[in-house]
């Protein structure tokens, strides 16, 4: 039976070694050690920020709005602010636009006029108490402040840097003034920018928004943790350091470079992939020009074949009239200038990695969908359980296998970004590719088993129907279960070796 030979295949020696090793790599399992983070809502973030601000306000004896301005200047790092403040208070004040020391009444974030004055914005005259200032001597009427803050908030987060409108005056407009003068919705927007600043402009070592689509949660890590990858409650998996999609074992820098490359060349590449096949003779990428199906590979191969069936063109002479109008383009192609050829070679190199990066991404997505379907109420798990006569709760091993596949596909795709950025002259590319190849093989076997052999099992049992021999289903099921669990462990070990190998060599790549 064909299935038998496959079993022999997966029971090869190398895998058995892995199987014995697996206990020793237990603590490297990312699922078990990265628990040093929690999820917080915007309100939690605000509360935390208010606490820090209140504390600084007390310690420096300044109003809260100024405390927030100082904190923001120090990227919301209270410790840094205190150090800078006690080393050189003048400088910190100057940085946010405040004079060296508070006025006669100390620091005042907003004050009302005590004399009748003309508003320098609307030119009307106002009685005492009808105007306010940012604590300086420039008073404007309430209406003009409202408009001034509205315009600033409309300009986005820069409203946190708002200054008094007085020409040349640098006094900051802070929370107390905004709350006293602005319209309700502008106050709310200003408050939102303040909270965002805490996360986005903060040293961002400890809090970060989840970049998942539509997700409003923030992730907070224990201070001092070397947090890398985070799985949000919304299921989005991302890098805590740079905010990109999770990208282990590629470094944040490699990831940035790769994402930029894909952004600039990705569109061309997707097109080329959709319009490119490989020469059946030499395997080089052949780009399809227009609708012609007669393809000629470049030098030195010159193999002619049909785009549609990849068969030799010699068998397609009947179709030749479709293609002759592209003869000119064809001869141009074979006489490419060196520069074009080099550009092409560099694109081909990128394509090699991009295609695999994309393909593993697609497989990952598919596996995630399968996993979601299995988990869904009355989903695949129940059907399978019904078919084999096993309660769905006993099928956790299948969910575990799928979770492994999703995770491994993610890691594998990023290894392609990593290897693309290696320098063949300096890095041991072969070593990386060896690890990658081994891991990939184990993953393909696991995925195949989880997908196709599960299907086969179902079909097999369905075929027998009611006439199923006693013990047959149980036997088949046990066989499948054992194999899948084994492949899962093998894959897990390959991937932990892979991640370890890639990450330990990382310093050589990004320098």
């Amino acid at each position: 039976m064909a299935r038998k030979s496959k079993e022999d295949d997966y029971c090869c020696d190398a895998d058995d070694d892995d199987y014995e090793d697996y206990n020793s790599t237990d603590e490297d399992n990312p699922e078990e050690c990265e628990k040093d983070y929690d999820f917080v809502t915007e309100d939690d973030v605000r509360r935390c920020q208010d606490e820090v601000t209140a504390e600084i306000s007390d310690r420096l004896s300044v109003p809260r709005g100024f405390a927030a301005a100082f904190l923001r200047h120090c990227r919301w790092d209270a410790e840094r602010l205190e150090n800078e403040w006690f080393a050189d208070e003048r400088r910190v004040r100057g940085a946010v636009g405040l004079a060296a020391a508070g006025g006669l009444d100390g620091d005042v974030p907003t004050a009302l006029n005590s004399l009748p004055l003309t508003c320098a914005i609307c030119f009307d005259i106002y009685a005492p108490g009808e105007m306010r200032s940012a604590g300086c001597s420039h008073y404007y009427c309430h209406e003009c402040w409202r408009g001034y803050i509205r315009a600033a908030v409309g300009n986005g987060a820069r409203c946190l840097l708002l200054r008094c409108p007085g020409p040349g005056c640098t006094v900051p407009v802070v929370r107390e003034l905004v709350d006293a003068a602005a319209a309700g919705e502008d106050r709310a927007r200003y408050a939102m920018f303040v909270v965002r600043s805490f996360v986005e402009e903060g040293t961002s070592k400890y809090v970060r928004w989840c970049p998942g689509p539509g997700c409003t949660l923030a992730v907070r890590s224990e201070s001092g943790s070397r947090l890398y990858e985070v799985t949000c409650k919304c299921k989005h998996v991302f890098c805590f350091r740079c905010g990109e999609d999770a990208h282990r074992p590629a470094s944040c820098e490699t990831t940035r470079a790769w994402v930029d490359k894909c952004r600039s060349d990705g569109e061309t590449s997707s097109w080329v992939l959709a319009n490119t096949k490989h020469c059946p003779e030499c395997r080089r990428a052949i780009e399809k020009n227009q609708g012609c199906n007669h393809m000629t590979c470049g030098a030195p191969c010159y193999h002619q074949f049909c785009w549609l069936c990849l068969g030799s063109w010699a068998d397609h002479s009947g179709n030749f009239f479709h293609c002759n109008r592209y003869a000119a383009a064809k001869s141009e192609f074979t006489e490419e200038k060196t520069r074009e050829r080099q550009a092409r070679a560099s694109l081909e190199r990128f394509l090699h990695y991009y295609e695999r990066f994309t393909a593993h991404g697609a497989s990952m997505k598919k596996a995630q969908e399968d996993l979601d379907n299995l988990r869904a109420d009355g989903g695949g798990l129940y059907q399978l359980g019904d078919a084999i006569g096993v309660p769905p709760t006993e099928l956790d091993f299948l969910l575990e296998a799928y979770a492994r596949i999703v995770e491994a596909r993610r890691v594998l795709r990023w290894t392609y970004a990593h290897v693309y950025h290696l320098d063949p002259a300096r890095d041991n590319v072969e070593f990386y590719e060896y690890l990658q190849g081994e891991a990939e093989k184990s993953l393909e076997r696991l995925h195949h088993c989880a997908e196709e052999e599960r299907d086969l099992l179902k079909k097999d049992l369905y075929y027998y129907g009611a006439a199923i021999p006693a013990g047959y289903a149980a036997g088949k099921y046990m066989e499948f279960r054992e194999k899948l669990c084994h492949l899962n462990l093998v894959t897990r070990n390959h991937f932990s070796t892979l991640v370890e190998g890639f990450e330990s060599g990382m310093a050589e790549v990004v320098s």
């Binding site: 609307c122 030119f123 003009c144 315009a151 409108p165 020409p167």
Partner: protein
């Protein structure tokens, strides 16, 4: 005249511009649109623009004075901070705008910019390059352009 919903500030600014014009500057709103001003600035003495009469247009957008006025040279001028289309690189017309500034302050600042071109913050790249590599020659070109395009006809 469409005075009806013009903010009092604009009316007052306009009255003052007309009754006490700044030296070397004139600005008057058009009949059809009280937010659109025809402006004339005389080239400051001891600048390459001396003797020139420069026409500008100034428009007060709906958000004025929370947003800055829009100003543009109509007369061709050779200046590192003014481009071919007459657009002006001046901080108070952009992020340094404050509603406590006025049309008068803006026009005075533009006049000052004619006296002190700033090739380090250029809008017209080739003019700025010219200015930095050979200032004498660039000043000559500016004078030539003033004679050619700003002679007041």
């Amino acid at each position: 005249m469409a005075h009806s919903n013009l903010p009092r500030r604009i009316i007052k600014e306009t009255q003052r511009l007309l009754s006490e014009p700044a030296p070397g500057i004139s600005a008057s709103p058009t009949e059809e649109n009280m937010r659109y001003f025809n402006v004339m600035i005389l080239g400051p003495s001891q600048s390459p623009y001396e003797g020139g009469v420069f026409k500008l247009e100034l428009f007060l957008p709906e958000e004025y004075p929370m947003a800055p006025p829009k100003v543009r040279f109509l007369t061709k001028i050779y200046h590192p901070n003014i481009d071919k289309l007459g657009r002006i690189c001046l901080d108070i017309l952009k992020d340094k705008w404050s509603p406590a500034l006025q049309i008068r302050t803006v026009l005075l600042s533009i006049q000052a910019l004619l006296s002190a071109p700033n090739p380090d913050d250029p809008l017209a790249d080739n003019v700025a390059k010219h200015w930095k590599s050979n200032e004498t020659e660039a000043v000559e070109t500016a004078k030539e352009w003033t004679r050619l395009y700003a002679s007041g006809e």
